[in-house]
Structure formats: structure tokens, C-alpha cells
């Protein structure tokens, strides 16, 4: 491994590939086929395959404008929403196919998909659902603009955050009424715990709000110096890792927590905001990106930190793992993208 100026060994240099993609990395995801899509602020999606050199990544012109949201599609490839009002599917080889046009001068701000074939796209107050073939299933209306969407692990429910709370819909329900989780204020990023028992949102006021669905118990997690954009549960839902503080803030969702419990803070201390987090798909390890471009892995139990990428390439704006947990990818606001191979050698 090479020495860096900071003295730390960064895994990106020994086990990774990276490339300057030239525009804000708005989102990334590993597709269910194993490839990784980077959605950019110039409307492009770059598709990277583990093992490939970065020069070989496929490029697809997905949107006329910017990609606003990117998710792994139901079977393979990626789903993107753009500020051209389109919902688009990108195949692993970089072919672009339009699923729907959802409005002139409207933005498709959030997309999500479930392996069952369900796709969801939010435009303003509306959440459109599509099936595996791309046929429109239904449109779910909310009282105000949707700030974030999430499917539960089984794909039975979809949650959408908005002003004054979140709506939890049964996808297959006929009556078309959501369970409304109320809390005054503007809610954006949203996550459902892996066991489907909790919903957590990130609020405008630099705080999280949560609901325990069994008894509608409220949870309020505050003290963040900036907005939280990333909410990521560990595989079995024991911990919730969050961005928005100058450390990786991890709330315990066991033993009665997070009520009355303090969070665990990892990799803090140097006064730089954590801007993105993603929990490992199996182990209790969290990958985190910071506003100065630093990317690292932190083990929750021990607090041990492993540096992945050095600071200096822009604030980390996207981060994610492949399903096997062998590859980690990240992207930054200035368009730097990297992928690291963490598999045993």
C-alpha cells in the first residue's frame, strides 16, 4: 500500500478504481445484477462493473437536465428520475428506456424499486406506482410535496414523507387510504426499519423523527448541526446510522432504544460534517463519507476506523454497498466517483 500525506493507507489506492465524472454525483446504487450506477447532475448515468477499469464504465444519457434520484431497479439495472419530468430505466449495459413522462416542467424527485417488480416515482404531491412491465398501477396523493420515499423490506408497504408527517400505504390495498404518521414540520429523507416496525424521517429542523408503528410512540432525535440526508439501518435493524453531524451518529434500536438512549458516535472529532452513510448489508459496519471528501469504514462495536478514500475530491454526496458486501462505491459533489473491492484475497 502506498503512503499518503496524512500517513494513512487508503483502500482506494490499493484496492479501488476511481474516475472524475465531471458532475455532481446525485445518487448511486448497486443493481441486483451486481453493477453500480452513478446518477449525475448533468443527466448522465455511468455504470461501473466490479473488476472493470474505470475507463470501461458505460455511460448513458438518461435525462435532459439533471438526475434527481437513482435506485436499483426491480430485476437489474437502475431507475432514475430527472428534472425533465421523466422516469427512466437504465440497463446494466447502459441502454436507456423511458417508463413514463410524469409532467412538463415537473420534477421526478424520488424513485424506488422493490425486487417484487414494484417501482415508485414521486412528482410533487404524487407518488406513482408501476409494475414490473412498467404499467402504471396507481397514484397515491399526499397533502403536500413528497420529501422522500421508501419500500419496506417485503415490498408490501411504501412510505412517503411530506409536511406534517409521513404516509404509510399498503401497496395492494383497495381502499386507498394511508396510515398517516403525524408530526408537525417538514419531513424529507425516510427509512423503514428492516423488520418493518419503525419509520424514521429527517426533518428540516436538523432532527430526526420516528414512529414505532405498534403503538404510534413518537421518537425525536435531535442535536444535529445540519440536515440529515442519509438514514441507514444495519442489516438486522439493530442500529440506525445517520449523516448530518461531525461524526457518524448511530442510534440504538434495541433494548428499548432509541428512547432515552444516547447515540454512539464514530469517526468524529475533526470538525468535518459527515455527509453520507451506508450500513454494510450483513455486518455491523458503516461506510461514511464526509464534507471534505474523506471516506471510511467504521465498525460499530469497536469504533475501529479504516480509511477508504482521502479528502480532497469534494463533499461525499452518495455512498453504497453491493448486496454481497464485497464492494463499496461513493461519489462526490464535484463529480469524483470511486469503487473499492473489499473481498477477501
Amino acid at each position: 500500500m502506498s503512503e499518503t500525506s496524512g500517513g494513512a493507507d487508503f483502500l482506494l489506492e490499493s484496492r479501488g478504481v476511481s474516475r472524475d465524472l465531471g458532475a455532481w454525483v446525485v445518487g448511486l446504487a448497486f443493481g441486483r445484477d451486481g453493477s453500480c450506477g452513478f446518477g449525475l447532475g448533468d443527466g448522465m448515468v455511468h455504470v461501473a462493473r466490479p473488476g472493470q477499469p474505470a475507463e470501461a464504465w458505460a455511460a448513458a444519457a438518461a435525462h435532459d437536465g439533471a438526475v434527481l434520484s437513482l435506485a436499483a431497479d426491480a430485476k437489474d439495472g437502475f431507475l432514475t428520475g430527472g428534472d425533465d419530468g421523466r422516469l427512466v430505466r437504465i440497463t446494466p449495459d447502459g441502454t436507456v428506456g423511458e417508463i413514463a413522462r410524469l409532467g412538463t416542467m415537473k420534477w421526478v424527485e424520488h424513485v424506488a424499486a422493490h425486487e417484487s417488480g414494484l417501482r415508485a416515482a414521486a412528482v410533487g404531491k404524487q407518488l406513482h406506482l408501476f409494475d414490473a412491465k412498467g404499467e402504471a398501477l396507481k397514484t397515491l396523493a399526499h397533502p403536500s410535496a413528497v420529501g422522500g420515499i421508501a419500500f419496506d423490506a417485503r415490498g408490501k408497504r411504501v412510505a412517503a414523507s411530506h409536511y406534517n408527517g409521513a404516509s404509510l400505504w399498503f401497496v395492494a390495498a383497495k381502499d386507498g387510504k394511508p396510515r398517516v404518521l403525524e408530526w408537525k414540520g417538514s419531513h424529507a429523507a425516510i427509512a423503514i426499519s428492516p423488520d418493518g416496525t419503525h419509520v424514521v424521517t429527517a426533518m428540516q429542523e436538523n432532527a430526526l423523527h420516528g414512529w414505532r408503528l405498534s403503538d404510534s410512540q413518537h421518537m425525536r432525535m435531535s442535536g444535529y448541526p445540519s440536515k440529515t440526508r442519509f438514514l441507514s439501518f444495519t442489516a438486522r435493524g439493530k442500529w440506525l446510522a445517520t449523516s448530518g453531524a461531525d461524526s457518524v451518529v448511530i442510534w440504538p434500536f434495541f433494548g428499548g432504544g432509541p428512547m432515552g438512549k444516547a447515540p454512539t458516535e464514530l469517526a468524529g472529532g475533526d470538525g468535518v460534517l459527515c455527509s453520507a452513510v451506508a450500513c454494510h448489508p450483513q455486518h455491523e459496519i458503516v461506510a461514511a463519507g464526509f464534507a471534505d471528501g474523506l471516506v471510511l469504514l467504521a465498525e460499530i462495536a469497536s469504533g475501529k476506523v479504516v480509511p477508504v478514500a482521502a479528502p480532497g475530491h469534494g463533499a461525499v454526496s452518495a455512498i453504497g454497498w453491493n448486496a454481497a458486501g464485497t464492494h463499496l462505491a461513493f461519489g462526490t459533489e464535484t463529480g469524483f466517483a470511486g469503487m473499492v473491492d473489499l473481498s477477501r484475497r
Binding site: G22, W24, V26, L40, G41, D42, G43, D64, G65, A66, L68, D83, D84, G103, T104, M105, K106, W107, E109, K125, S144, A145, G147, Y163, N164, K184, G185, S186, Q204, E205, N206, A207, G210, Q217, H218, M219, R220, M221, S222, G223, Y224, P225, S226, K227, A245, D246, S247, V249, W251, M259, G260, K261, A262, P263, E265, G268, G271, V272, L273, E333
Partner: protein
């Protein structure tokens, strides 16, 4: 701008308390945010992009039929070589095909659990966040409000949201006025009055429909509400684009750097409406602590009725001038260049608002002066 103290956004990001502080519910009743407007001695600013990278935002207000859409079409179709993102809310009226036009529903919400000074436009926060990710910079963003909109939430969005504040600056609130119909609107619409009260620049439009005498009367009515806005006459919204965009007319510090006499002039307007303006001048230097205590209290208690407050202050023992301004309860202040030779050093404060009590405000401001020599 100063802040609701409940909003860590305005605090120094890296020094804020760790999330460990909090015990998630069951809850005690939420504490109401305290409003502490601008400190005469501004705290060190939190790290932010240099101002040159902030995209200027022009807010376009005006009653229905005043000519906003015509002006927007003109700005978008004119060959000025500039690139503007436009946020509209009345889809279909705009006849220009432009990929940077965003159609949105105005979504006003209260931050901090109902704090009025933190009423912001949620849709703008989302849209500006999205625009910043696009490749290629804009020369500006233009936000059109609906005819019935209160301009305050739009203005406050530029101070209440950390991301918006970092990426953009409010350039000017431009209000279009129908010269023929303004008297009727002032009589029947609270919003029409507020839009004039908030304006930095007023476009007196449809001049072809009025006589010179009528135009003068309308200007007199406008001046009675807001004597500090620049008034520009036009027909069919036909003004050079640089008359309304890139004006730096919102930020008092910038205005005073350009026009040192901006707030001067006697307060001799006739006041014939519920909303009007008052200005006060004092000759002795201002005690920063007294001023801060008084204005904090005033904005906290009366901020809902104080639409805009602007002032230029000469502090005791300081050779710089201080520019103070507030939108409702959100206040801001900054020192501007050294006092010039021969400057009479008279501090001035102007209020545009509703039900202003002249004697009370005068006494309050006068009491912010340092004690006169020879008194105890």
C-alpha cells in the same frame, strides 16, 4: 441574518452540540424558540462559500394581471446571453419553452413547530437544492409568486434554510403594479399592500393606461407605504433586464456601499393606509447593547407587524457604520466601510409595517443613544 436560536443552521456547524444531547420522547412540551435578532457585533460567520459563488435570486411579486408573466416571457425570450432558472406556479401562462422553468405549488410551512418568523417556502428549498446539482451555473434564479402571495415566506426562506443560504442570495424583491388598478387593489387587498411594502424595486406598469396626473397619484400612494423602493415606470413590462435583475437591492449593506444616502431624506409622506413607513433619526452615537436589547424585544413582540426594518447606525467608539435590516422577526446586520470625513453621524432607522406607534418607537430608538455629555 440572525436566527431563531432553535435553528442550529445559523450556528457554526462544526461547533454545534453532538446529538448525544437528546433523549428521544416521551416528550416534555417543546420549548418555544427565542428570537434574538442581529447582534451589533456579528459573531464570526460560519464557513460558507464566497459570495461570488452565490446565485442571485430575484423574487417577482405582483397582483394578478399586473404583468408578471409578460415580464417573465420578456426575460426568457430576450437575447441577453444569460441563463436563468425560473420557478413558476401558474402553469400554462408562460409561452416560452425553456428547460429551466420549474412549475411548483407554493408550499408555505412553519419551521420550529409554528414559529412565525420561520415560515418558509418548502418547495423553494427543494427546488434550489435540485438546481444546485445541475451542471453549469446559472446567472440567476427568478421566483414568481402567485398574485395573492405574502412575500415574507419567500424572503425568509433565504435566511432560514442553511442550504439555500449557502447557495444563493436574495438579489431583490421586485413588485409589479398595475398603474390603472392599483388604487382599487389597495382598497380591497391586504396582499397588494404587503407586496408594495416588501418591495425593493417597484415596476409601475401599464403606464399607457393612465394620465400623468394619475401616475403621480399612484406613486404618491406607493411612497406612503414604502418610500424606499425604487419606482420604475413601464408599459407592457418593457424594461431592460438589468433594471430588475442583478440589482443587489435587497442587501442593505450593498445598497449603502453604492448609495450612501439611501435612507436619508425627510419623513414627510402622507400616511393614508394601515401599512405605512416611519423613519427616525438621532444625533448621538448608539450604544450597541441598548440598541440590541431594544430591537430584540421589539422584533420579538411586534415582528409580525413589522414587515421590513432598515437602519444605519453609528456606534459609540466605532469608526464604521452598521447596516441593520430585518424581515419580520429575522434580523441581520453588518458593518460597512469607515465613516467619511464630514459625515454628520446621524443614526437612522426606518420601519415599514402595520399599526406603527410613532411616539413609542421614537422614544425607544432615542433611548438607544449613549447618554448626552454632562448627564449621568
Amino acid at each position: 441574518m440572525a436566527e431563531c436560536r432553535d435553528m442550529p443552521a445559523a450556528a457554526v456547524p462544526h461547533a454545534a452540540p453532538a446529538p448525544a444531547l437528546t433523549r428521544p420522547g416521551p416528550f416534555a412540551p417543546r420549548r418555544r424558540p427565542s428570537h434574538i435578532p442581529g447582534q451589533p457585533n456579528p459573531a464570526p460567520r460560519s464557513p460558507r462559500m464566497s459570495e461570488t459563488t452565490q446565485v442571485p435570486v430575484t423574487v417577482l411579486t405582483g397582483y394578478l394581471g399586473a404583468g408578471k408573466t409578460t415580464l417573465l416571457n420578456r426575460i426568457l425570450s430576450e437575447n441577453h446571453g444569460k441563463k436563468f432558472a425560473v420557478v413558476i406556479n401558474e402553469f400554462g401562462e408562460l409561452g416560452v419553452d425553456n428547460d429551466l422553468v420549474v412549475d411548483t405549488d407554493e408550499e408555505v410551512f412553519e419551521m420550529n413547530n409554528g414559529c412565525i418568523c420561520c415560515t418558509v417556502r418548502g418547495d423553494l428549498i427543494r427546488i434550489i437544492g435540485g438546481l444546485m446539482k445541475r451542471r453549469g451555473k446559472f446567472d440567476g434564479i427568478i421566483v414568481e409568486t402567485t398574485g395573492l402571495a405574502d412575500p415574507a415566506p419567500v424572503a425568509q426562506t433565504f435566511f432560514a434554510d442553511e442550504d439555500v443560504k449557502r447557495a444563493t442570495r436574495l438579489d431583490a424583491i421586485v413588485t409589479l403594479v398595475d398603474a390603472k388598478n392599483l388604487p382599487a387593489r389597495l382598497a380591497d387587498s391586504k396582499e397588494a399592500v404587503e407586496q408594495i411594502a416588501f418591495a425593493d424595486i417597484i415596476l409601475l406598469n401599464k403606464m399607457d393606461l393612465v394620465t400623468e396626473a394619475e401616475a403621480e397619484e399612484v406613486e404618491r400612494r406607493i411612497r406612503a407605504i414604502n418610500p424606499y423602493a425604487e419606482i420604475r415606470r413601464s408599459t407592457k413590462s418593457d424594461v431592460p433586464i438589468d433594471a430588475v435583475i442583478g440589482r443587489e437591492a435587497f442587501d442593505l449593506k450593498r445598497i449603502l456601499e453604492r448609495e450612501p444616502e439611501f435612507l436619508s431624506g425627510e419623513d414627510d409622506h402622507e400616511h393614508d393606509g394601515e401599512i405605512n413607513s416611519l423613519s427616525f433619526e438621532v444625533s448621538r452615537p448608539i450604544d450597541p447593547e441598548r440598541f440590541n436589547a431594544w430591537i430584540s424585544q421589539l422584533l420579538a413582540n411586534k415582528g409580525q407587524d413589522l414587515l421590513r426594518t432598515k437602519g444605519i447606525l453609528y456606534y459609540a467608539n466605532d469608526d464604521r457604520r452598521f447596516a441593520f435590516q430585518a424581515v419580520h422577526m429575522i434580523a441581520d446586520g453588518d458593518f460597512i466601510g469607515p465613516v467619511k470625513e464630514g459625515d454628520p453621524r446621524r443614526s437612522k432607522l426606518v420601519f415599514i409595517g402595520r399599526d406603527l406607534n410613532r411616539p413609542v418607537l421614537r422614544r425607544g430608538f432615542e433611548a438607544c443613544q449613549v447618554d448626552a455629555e454632562g448627564t449621568v
